[in-house]
Every structure is written in C-alpha cells, then in structure tokens.
C-alpha cells in the first residue's frame, strides 16, 4: 500500500468512524452488547479481521464511551465493563511489561479479543449461509398426503377353563351360594378331607401339590391350617392305599405331590 493511498484510506476511515460513532451514540440500543459494537467498529478499519488493530479499536471504543458520557447517555453496565477492560488492555499494549509482572501480555489479550471478534463474525456468516440454503417448506417439500401408518391393534380374547367353570359356578350359585366358611370348630376331619379329595382328584391328572387341595379359609389360622393339612395328608394316604392316587415327595419337608393313578 503506498503512503498516499494509505493516507487516503485513513481519511476515509476517519470520516466513517466519526459517522459510525455518531450513529452509535444515537442508537446504542441497536447493538447486541459491547462485542457486537466492537465488531461493527472493527469494520471501519476495512481490513481482514485477522489483521485488525486492536489498539485502534480500543481507542475507538473508549472514545465512544467518553462521548456517550459527555452526552449523558446512560450506558449499560456491560458497556462500561468492556471500556474498563479495554483501557487496561490499551495500557498493556502501550507500556512495556514491568519486570516480574505476571499474567498475560497485552498481545495475548489483544489476540484473544481479535479471536472473539473473528469467531462472532464467522458465526454470523455461517448463520447467513445456513439461512440461504434451500429450506423445507420453501424450496423443497414433503409429501402432501402422508399416509400415516395405521396401527391395527387386534385384540385376542382369551379365557381358561377355570374362568369358564368359575363363571358358570358364579351364575348357578348366585342365589343359594354362601361363601365356604367353617361354622364348626377348627377341626377338619379326615372323612371330610377324603370326601373332598375324591371329588377333586378326577381333575388331577398331573402332579399337584397337596397343599393346593386345602379348602379356602383354612390357610390363615395356624390351628385350622394344621388340622386341614393333617386331614388332607391322611386322606391322601388313604387314597394311595386304595390305589386311586400316587404320592411323591422329592425331599424331606419338600412339598408333597399327588396325582390320579391311571387305571
């Protein structure tokens, strides 16, 4: 770049910067925070964002804040925080680091701010490119009459023989039936058990636990349970003796199982 051209550039930039600054003061609300403002200001430098002069940008921003103050414009806190930070950055950039000074150098801080600006700009460009793409419902379209998958739910009803017999029993005994309750004492006789089991055993073609033959209402009270258990056990022995059933027990204290003996 020749000196003259550079000079020309500077003048232009100056004018633009002033114009921009004026605009900023009038409408600071139009900016999305200090970073957005800085990015807008950086454009006045008309150079690649990677070669931007952060020092110049900092001065520009500080001048803007000064002007705003002069015009007694209320600036949001984050604009002032940024101003303070840029003032600090400016001093770091201008003054040689003091010996023994720790922390990042002015150049490092400036590089980071440049990175932030470049990244924000890159995201804005990406957003623009994204929105410029062909879009669904604007440039390309979905099926006008989607045929939704119809869910055919077929229900298969089922019932067991037990359901059936219970259902029938329920109807047939609706009037006279009284839930089976022992009115007598807590003794279940072997004769009663034998009677019960003779009727039941016809349905027991497979090994069935003896305990399942226990009548309802005899399982909860320990005394009644013991009596009924003993009665049924004795009854099953009787039936085995008569050759009606087979008995087995896999282990000591294991469940006792019986089944109808095939003729």
């Amino acid at each position: 770049m020749s000196g003259e051209a550079a000079n020309q550039d500077w003048v232009e930039q100056d004018v633009e910067a002033r114009r921009a600054a004026e605009a900023l003061i009038v409408d600071v609300e139009g900016y999305e925070g200090p970073l957005d403002l800085l990015l807008t200001m950086s454009r006045t430098q008309k150079v690649d964002l990677r070669q931007i002069s952060i020092l110049q940008l900092a001065q520009q921003y500080l001048a803007f804040v000064e002007q705003a103050k002069a015009l007694r414009l209320e600036l949001a806190a984050d604009y002032l925080v940024m101003a303070a930070w840029l003032a600090f950055l400016k001093s770091r950039l201008l003054l040689p680091p003091e010996p023994g000074d720790e922390g990042p150098t002015g150049e490092e801080l400036a590089a980071h701010l440049a990175f932030q600006l470049e990244r924000l700009q890159a995201m804005r460009d990406a957003a623009a490119r994204l929105m410029a793409r062909d879009q669904l419902g604007r440039d390309f379209f979905v099926r006008g009459v989607p045929e939704d998958v119809t869910r055919v739910r077929s229900v298969q009803y089922t019932a067991t023989l037990l359901d059936l017999m219970q259902g029938y029993a329920r109807i047939r005994t609706r009037d006279e039936f009284r839930p089976f309750v022992m009115d007598r004492d807590k003794v279940f006789t072997m004769e009663e058990a034998l009677d019960r089991m003779r009727n039941l055993i016809g349905f027991a073609g497979e090994w069935t636990d003896l305990a399942s033959y226990m009548p309802d209402g005899w399982g909860d009270d320990p005394v009644r349970r013991r009596s009924a258990t003993a009665a049924h056990f004795a009854a099953s022995l009787e039936l085995a003796k008569a050759g009606t059933v087979e008995i087995r027990q896999s282990d000591t204290f294991a469940p006792i199982q019986i089944r109808k003996k095939d003729e």
Binding site: F141, V142, R143, G144, V145, E147, D148, V149, T150, R151, V152, R153, S154, V155, Q156, Y157, T158, A159, T160, L161, L162, D163, L164, M165, Q166, G167, Y168, A169, R170, I171, R172, T173, R174, F177, P179, F180, D195, R196, N199, L200, G202, F203, A204, G205, T208, D209, A211, S212, Y213, M214, P215, D216, G219, P222, V223, R225, R226, T229, F253, P255
Partner: protein, 212 residues
C-alpha cells in the same frame, strides 16, 4: 430414454422437465390435482396431460402409482404394499365377565336360546357379547328351537373344545364337582386344573407348610 430427451430439446419446456414438474406437484399436493390446475401452475406451453402419461408409465409396477381420481391425478401407494402402512399388534386380553358367563351357559346348556341365557344369567345379554363369541368362533348357531317364534339356539364349536382342551362339552365338570373343587369360591384355587401352572403355587405351598 435418450430419444425422449433428444426430442424434448426442441420443445418449449422439455417434456422430461414437465414430467419432473408434474411429479413434484403431485407428490407435494395435499389433494389430487386436475390437469387444468397442473397446466396453470406449469410454465406456459406445458402439456400436463402428456407429462402425466409419461409419469404414469414410469411408475408402472413401482411401489407407488400415478392414479386418476375423478378428473384429477394423485400418487398413491401400490395396493399390494398396503400392508406396509399398517403396524399390527396383537394384544391378549381376558374375556369380559359377561362373555365368559354367556359362554359358560352355552357350553353347559347347549343348544340354548338367547332368552334362556338371559334367564339363567338373570340379566340381558348384549348383542355385542354374542357377536364377540361368534367372531371368536367359540360359539355358532345351532338348530332353531321348535317353539313359537322358532328362536335360534347357540352351541359351542370345535374351536371352543380345542381351546379349552375338551373332547366334548359333556366333559365339563358338573355343579357338584365344581363345588367340591372349591370353584364356588370367588378366588380361583390353583391346582385343580392341569392347565394352570404350578409356579405360583409352590410359594403358596411352602407357606402353608411352614411353622404353624
């Protein structure tokens, strides 16, 4: 194809291009599109009718077809692939109490008329219940009763016997046996049926034999 394209080079909007247009419009349109509407939407000089003919031929035998609906055109799924648009799920559900009771009455009393079922149940039997059992092929119509009105009777089917593992409906246990089996209780008693599984019962049982 090459010929077609060559020819189309001389047409105002090439016919192949018109075919693409018709294809896109039919695809995206929520309703069948009339030829006149197609022509109105396509560039001047286009012949939708000709493009449609080509398009229809192109989709011949494909998974979707170009069909005429009244005086309009649309793209529709090939009928033989309709099954793909359905998701079938089979749900097993217990038969309702009303259905079970009705079924039981028919099984125990067959052949039985509807009036008799109602008399036994003490409540009216809904048409739906009977229909359901008929549909399941568990009951069927028997001979008409030779009484005034000649009412139809219901009997159980072979399907019913198969399902419940019965040789004959007469094998069903009688009332006395049901009572003896403890089936007159409200709660099902395990063990009386070879059909019921014994997994649960084992627990019950050990319970029963434990400390008393």
């Amino acid at each position: 194809m090459a010929e077609e394209q060559e020819e189309s080079l001389f047409e105002a909007p090439p016919l192949a291009e018109q075919e693409r247009m018709v294809e896109a419009v039919l695809f995206a349109s929520a309703e069948p599109v009339r030829v006149a509407d197609l022509n109105a939407r396509m560039p001047h000089g286009a012949d939708a009718e000709a493009a449609l003919t080509l398009l229809q031929k192109r989709y011949d035998g494909r998974g979707v077809r170009v069909v005429k609906v009244g005086d309009a055109w649309a793209i529709r799924t090939a009928p033989d692939l309709g099954f793909l648009m359905k998701k079938e799920t089979v749900e097993t559900r217990k038969l309702s109490r009303a259905a079970i009771e009705t079924l039981a009455i028919i099984a125990y009393h067959q052949p039985v008329t509807r009036a008799e079922i109602e008399e036994i149940r003490g409540v009216s039997v809904s048409r739906g219940t009977i229909d359901q059992l008929l549909e399941m092929d568990w009951i069927r119509l028997g001979r008409r009763r030779m009484t005034p009105g000649r009412p139809v009777t219901f009997v159980v089917t072979q399907g019913f016997l198969d399902h419940f593992g019965l040789e004959n409906a007469r094998d069903l246990p009688g009332l006395k046996e049901l009572r003896a089996a403890g089936l007159l209780e409200n709660r099902p008693r395990p063990g009386q049926l070879s059909e019921t599984e014994t997994g649960d019962e084992d627990e019950d049982q050990s319970d029963m034999f434990e400390d008393s």
